[in-house]
């Protein structure tokens, strides 16, 4: 079988799309550049934010501060900045809602009396739990107040001649066995997701242009009169689409490797294995998916009647193959032989293993590569069948 037709179509599609700013931006800029930079930026932001939060004093507004001088001195000594305010209850709520004060502690009028009488002495802590960034501050204030309470209790026991240790029958010792790398799971989930999505997006516009676009322009009909088997035409287009996906994949992984090296992951207690060797392995893990992705996109846009229609379909459909990744994230799936048969998921799991610097099971790699290539070949054959149909002309 002569393949010159496939080669001719491949070269023409590759060259033509190189001149199309839209294709070029989606293949070479959006995914590969913005994805890694966005992730690196988010990680960096959360790192610097958590660092700041750990170091920063927490601002606490207190109404009726004069009623609990000892408690406030205790808090001040432990990194809480007390600001005395004069607000009634409604005013307090309003201040928290409008965030003029983020956390407000209200000392009731009988606080001192109840404490002296040995009765539970409530204090009221106002905060807005819908503001995620304040959670840590509230937690710290709450913990400090409880500690203050425990210290008072211990003093009371001592005064009554009881060893305070006996009222703490159980103490919990926490040992965290997660390695720095395995702690990076959330970051990694986002990263593999973006690598796979960016790879697909790299071939998206070419797939649309080469199928639905070609039909809409009216050049498809003449193309079909070339003395070549029709399926060779779509094979050439799939090959061009695959080449753009490969470029996008390589660039995305390299960009991740570079961008993450600027991020102080170690400060999160996380290390990610993203050196040149790991990057090459990541690319190799995903490469078999390219045939699958290119055929998949070509088939879907081959069904669309116009460029615009194809764009609408593909915007949705491009996310379908990445669905298993979301489940993997939610269910905390681990690499298993059975999961290696699921395209995209198997690549995600393999990539995660590599980045966590864990040993790779060779049989997993074989299953993932072979099954993905088989699915890709089936889809490519179906795309060829689609191009043999007369209805293709619309």
């Amino acid at each position: 079988m002569k393949l010159r037709g496939i080669w001719a179509v491949f070269r023409k599609e590759f060259r033509e799309n190189l001149r199309d700013r839209r294709t070029l931006l989606s293949a070479l800029a959006f995914g590969p550049l913005f994805g890694p930079i966005l992730v690196a930026g988010l990680v960096q932001f959360s790192i610097s934010h958590s660092e700041e939060q750990a170091e920063e004093n927490i601002a606490l507004a207190v109404t009726h501060a004069e009623r609990a001088p000892n408690l406030l001195a205790y808090l001040t000594a432990r990194g809480i900045d007390i600001e005395k305010v004069d607000l009634d209850e409604a005013g307090t709520r309003k201040a928290v809602v409008t965030q003029s004060h983020k956390i407000i502690l209200d000392i009731p009028v009988d606080f001192g009396d109840r404490l002296q009488e040995g009765q539970p002495a409530p204090v009221v802590l106002y905060s807005d739990s819908s503001r995620g960034f304040e959670r840590r501050g509230v937690g710290r204030v709450r913990t400090l107040i409880s500690q203050y309470g425990i210290e008072i209790a211990q003093l009371r026991f001592l005064a009554r001649g009881i060893d305070p240790i006996s009222v703490l029958p159980i103490s919990v010792q926490e040992i965290d066995v997660s390695t720095p790398s395995s702690r990076s799971v959330i970051v990694l989930n986002v990263m593999t997701y973006i690598v796979l999505l960016s790879m697909l997006a790299g071939g998206l516009y070419l797939a649309i242009d080469a199928t639905a676009g070609e039909r809409e322009r009216g050049s498809l009909e003449v193309l079909l009169t070339a003395p070549l088997p029709r399926e060779h035409l779509i094979y050439g287009k799939i090959a061009a689409c695959a080449s753009y996906m490969l470029i996008s994949l390589v660039l995305t992984v390299i960009m991740f490797s570079i961008a993450m090296s600027f991020v102080g992951l170690e400060q999160l207690g996380v290390t990610a294995n993203l050196g040149p060797a790991a990057a090459a392995t990541l690319i190799a893990c995903c490469a078999p998916l390219i045939l699958f992705g290119a055929s998949y996109l070509s088939i879907i846009s081959g069904f669309a009647k116009s460029y615009r229609e194809a764009q609408t379909y593909l915007g949705l459909i491009i996310t379908i193959p990445t669905m298993p990744l979301m489940f993997a994230g939610l269910l905390g799936l681990q690499a298993k032989a059975g999961l290696m048969f699921v395209p995209f998921l198997s690549q995600h799991l393999l990539m995660t293993t590599v980045v966590r610097a864990e040993p790779i099971e060779p049989s997993f790699v074989v299953i993932s590569v072979v099954s993905t290539l088989v699915y890709g070949a089936i889809l490519m054959y179906l795309a060829g069948r689609l191009y043999r149909r007369e209805a293709l002309l619309g």
């Binding site: 179509v9 023409k12 001149r19 199309d20 070609e214 003449v222 079909l224 009169t225 070339a226």
Partner: protein, 246 residues
């Protein structure tokens, strides 16, 4: 030479072409004349092998379009309806791409593209991207593309649609050149004047069937001095024929 023999084609319920037979000879321009939806495009599409006839067959220089479509395709040049070209390629690249698809070597297709650019007077825009081309420039590019492999037979579907007078005159000149060089030229049209000015033979199609065929004089014999009158007379005569959609 193009030969249609009893071509039938239906799309679902709609019968588009019902038993079309005619012959287009070498060294002649044959016009396929008919109203919109008469079945001209469907007939041409079967001749240039993108549609398979339900019944009947067509022969390109004796090669069956149903049995050996690849061989048939090598012998035809096609200008399809709308003449779509690739916007991000230059005119020259558009031509050379089809040369490559037709199996021309690198030097051969470059020579051939240069030759056609000169023949069709495309020099001013030959190396510009096709993005901003006028209808006339697009048509010339599409025409050159269809001629790149030196086909003996040239099929054009409504080639003058959307062209201005100068472009139509240019096209006429090229088609006449092709005829004089011994090519078989078949084009479809619903414009009487065009057919009258260009064609040696006319095939009139209505309701998916041939209602008249022959030289211009043969057709005019059906009524009136002008082709238009004859055409109307033929349509009136064919009133009882079932309607056919596209």
């Amino acid at each position: 030479m193009l030969e249609a023999r009893g071509l039938y084609k239906s799309f679902g319920e709609v019968v588009a072409v019902r038993g079309v037979s005619f012959t287009a000879r070498d060294g002649q321009i044959t016009g396929l004349l008919g109203a919109n939806g008469a079945g001209k495009s469907t007939t041409l599409r079967m001749l240039y092998t993108v549609l398979k006839p339900d019944q009947g067959d067509a022969f390109i220089d004796g090669r069956s379009v149903t049995e050996d479509p690849l061989a048939a395709r090598r012998a035809i040049g096609v200008l399809s309806h709308g003449a779509g070209i690739y916007n991000h390629l230059t005119a020259r690249e558009n031509i050379a791409y089809f040369g490559e698809l037709h199996g021309l070597g690198k030097a051969d297709r470059a020579d051939r593209a240069a030759e056609l650019i000169e023949q069709l007077e495309m020099q001013p825009f030959a190396d510009r991207l096709a993005k901003g081309f006028s209808q006339g420039q697009k048509l010339k590019t599409a025409l050159a593309r269809s001629l790149v492999h030196r086909p003996k037979n040239v099929l054009l579907d409504e080639p003058t649609n959307g062209l201005d007078v100068m472009a139509v005159r240019g096209l006429r000149k090229v088609l006449a050149q092709l005829r004089d060089a011994g090519h078989c030229v078949l084009f479809s049209s619903h414009v009487m004047q065009e057919v009258e000015q260009l064609c040696d033979e006319v095939v009139v199609i209505a309701g998916g069937a041939v209602v008249a065929a022959g030289t211009l004089d043969d057709i005019r014999a059906h009524g009136g001095d002008r082709l238009e009158d004859a055409f109307v007379a033929l349509m009136d005569g064919g009133e009882n024929k079932p309607e056919a959609g596209k």
